[in-house]
């Protein structure tokens, strides 16, 4: 039978392992996703709320930039991770809410692209564009945004 001290040690080790697991690449959704922006976007950091508002159509600006344009990935694990972590919606619920905006005349659908490379290319050449890609994808020339 374990003593109280041994139990405490086991608990500490378990917590340490959990913390290490959390720190490993790929162990959390946000570790997979990189938020990128056109160099014209005038901020290096955004809050989760600001990012959510831009990608749900509730807002079209970020600090330092009056007009930003979101761009989406069509599908895949990076898309699912981004929506789950920063928007708080599944892909189908997210697209349903955009259809509501589009067909009620309150906005236009964000551009949706097939690959990380296409998102990087679009963001690079579109002033105010904000997108997301897999962390391992090349993204030369675009700005990476830190999400607070």
């Amino acid at each position: 039978m374990k003593t109280f001290g041994e139990t405490l040690m086991t608990l500490r080790l378990s917590l340490l392992l959990l913390a290490l697991a959390g720190a490993l690449p790929g162990s959390k959704a946000h570790a997979q996703v990189l938020v990128i922006a056109n160099p014209s976007v005038g901020t290096a950091e955004v809050s989760k709320a600001e990012l959510r508002d831009v990608f749900t159509g509730a807002s079209s600006s970020l600090p330092g930039t009056a007009q930003v344009t979101p761009v989406l990935l069509k599908q895949g694990p990076v898309n699912a991770d981004f929506l789950g972590l920063y928007v708080g919606k599944s892909d189908s619920a997210f697209r349903a809410s955009w259809r509501s905006i589009l067909f009620s005349g309150q906005g236009v659908l964000p551009k949706t692209l097939d690959t990380d490379a296409a998102v990087v290319e679009y963001v690079l050449h579109t002033p105010g564009a904000v997108g997301y890609i897999g962390r391992a994808s090349p993204h030369d020339g675009v700005k990476t945004l830190i999400v607070r």
Binding site: A49, S90, S92, R95, A96, S97, R99, F103, S104, G128
Partner: protein
Amino acid sequence: MTRSPIATALLVLACLWGGTSGPAQSLDDLNIEVHGYATQGFLYTTKNNWNTTNSSDGSAAWTEAVLNISARPIPQLRVGVQGRYLLLGYLTNAITLDWAQADYKVNERFGIRAGKVKTPIGLLNESQDIDPAQLWVLLPQSLYALANRNSTLAHFGGVMYGTVPLGERFGEVQYRGYGGQRVLTSDDAVFQTVRDKGISLPNGATGPMYGGTLRWQTPLRGLMVGASEDSEHTSGAAVLGALSGSLKATHFYQPYFYGIYEHSKLMVGGEYTRQALQKTTAFVGGPTIFIPKDQRAWYMMASYKLSEKITGGIYYSDSLDQQLPRSAARFQKDWALSARYDLNTYLYLKAEQHWIDGTELGYSTSDNTALQPNTRMTTFKIGVSF
């Protein structure tokens, strides 16, 4: 003065073309997009026929198709037009203009749109006709009756809108103010109850309207509460057999109060409204008929996303016209159980079961010789959007 929907659409398109057709601007620069959706519904009711569809025998007379064209020549400016084909029993079988507008957003705090625009009242008015965005086959009919849709959906005029942040501790307030002219054509489904009495409105009905909406996005993430007030004063020429006259509604003010909470896979919402007015039909050499109305309507709804593809929900919808004599015709109580299955990004299926008591809404006497006090309704819908 009324303006035809087609004329307005052409006006908007002319503005789009004329304002952006300079030599420096290519079609790519206009960011033109075309989207649309189509749905096919199936209805079966155990007793009463619903909205002229002969649903007690099973009916597929419910088809809808929408085409949307929009452009964004500069980031702050959007112009667009949306048309709709709707077949519903013999209530309507026509192509109509949903909206045709130019929208200029100065910044987050202020924007304005003009043309034929969606009327921003209540929780769901602007999106009540957008089937791909909804879980439900039918929205709560106490507030969003299908036959009454055009009477509240859009108006000719404008909307100004914006969002005012209140700081991190207090959330933000979204405002909408609108005004213009309500224009209802003679064949609009909202006049079916008048047609049932043998009265026609050859020029439809028109009148000034205005109102506003405030929505508070509370500091509790996902919780929004709001209120709207709509004011209208419509009238039109009326014909009853050989008699001619008019149909007028008193100038009325209609409040809406609502709230919605969305967290992860859960949504809970509710809304209340009251419409009190008096309609008067007066005919030269004939009778003057007063039709008072005092409708109190509300609903509560909840839905849960069971998986990426499946969503389930339930609502209770309640309406009571206190001016009508005590009978099943003065109220409607509707329990609905709903499910939606998204086959992929474009294609979806819906199924919904209704338990309806009372006959206040959704029935025409033209195909219901003797309305029964209650009925059950089973509905299915398939939809595709792009």
